[in-house]
Subunit: 188 residues, 2 copies
DNA sequence: CAGTATGGCTAACAGCGTTAGCTCAGTATG
DNA sequence: CATACTGAGCTAACGCTGTTAGCCATACTG
């Protein structure tokens, strides 16, 4: 079905202290501008005008801090995808794929952090993941196809980000081929 | 076209000293049985009955050692895929996908190592990557679809390995939905 | 005013990849 | 045979990482 639940609101972000939010913002800036290898506790401390151990007054460990970044990324991506999924069934799959690509390629380090390795569902805001992925279900006819479409999108993005495709690849065409394959009706 | 080059032989592996091969084998065993976090120079040295710095007599650095593992994985995967692609066009896509899934899920740590982050093409055996991916071209009608199919397969595998799908997912059905979507003819 | 939380600090630890420099066995060469 | 060289091990150490312990000042709060 193309209409499921009425998009159950983006989930209230886990509330953090003002200083913790600053830490998170600084971490995000380091990650996005200098890469994941530069996101160290000491580097982060320097950016905040603080010593590294002081960060532990705001986050119990680095994993928890990264989890904050991941949640933010998933929330943002969810918004983008829901916007793309809304507004008519006509070409909805292509729109969602396009939105997915644009957001993820614009935030490669964040996306890699969010999708590398196992997901710590226990520690995450419940149902945030589910909500963010919902648009894929909204634009497909069944949930198997929705998951397959998501896998395609993720594969494309991560391979594009990591520069894994052959150097002369025309990725616009690859995305189009994928969107075509998943189009509900017979293809041309 | 479904018939391209006649599968240009699996590439001769870069020749290494006997001891280097032993190091590589030990590294692989650690990686596959204990996980990537356990693959440290000191742990590897212990397994070989050697001190960590001695490993540098055989490999210039850890990255080069890992690259050896990646090459081995790609060669093995290439063989598996070529076997699956051969033997008739009937259901070839499904067979290649199945082979991809079986091999990668059986070697999750190796696969993650091989596909995480940018690929160092300069240091790799030339065309090994191309050859390993060739089966996707052999079973599709055009190269855009081939790349899209590969992206789907990679997305599925990496998400499955990292346990990223919702807990109750029936992944057999998801794979089937993907194979169905990429089937050359109109779908049922 | 006393007490307690907040948020900094320094010193330090274990583990990581890696380098420098030594040694010793085996082989090849004069 | 003696010499030199090369391969492959060793220890000590460096700089980096995340993290802990313990100390101290400031600022609310009863």
């Amino acid at each position: 079905m193309s209409s499921r639940a009425p998009a159950p609101a983006p989930e209230p972000m886990r509330q953090r202290s003002a200083r913790a939010a600053e830490v998170l913002a600084a971490a995000r800036e380091i990650l996005e501008t200098e890469g994941s290898e530069s996101l160290t506790m000491r580097r982060l401390g320097t950016k905040l005008g603080i010593q590294a151990p002081s960060i532990y007054k705001h986050f119990p460990n680095k994993a928890e801090l990264e989890l904050g970044l991941v949640e933010a990324a998933m929330a943002e991506l969810g918004v983008v995808l829901h916007e793309a999924a809304g507004g008519g069934t006509r070409g909805a799959i292509a729109r969602v794929l396009q939105a997915y690509r644009v957001y993820c390629v614009a935030h490669p380090e964040l996306y890699r952090l969010a999708t590398a390795g196992p997901l710590r569902r226990d520690a995450m805001t419940p149902e945030l993941e589910e909500w963010a992925g919902e648009p894929f279900f909204l634009v497909t006819t069944d949930e198997d196809t929705a998951q397959a479409l998501w896998a395609f999108a993720h594969g494309m993005v991560i391979l594009e980000i990591d520069d894994r495709f052959p150097p002369d690849s025309k990725l616009d065409r690859t995305w189009k081929a994928g969107a075509e394959a998943f189009r509900p009706q017979a293809r041309g």
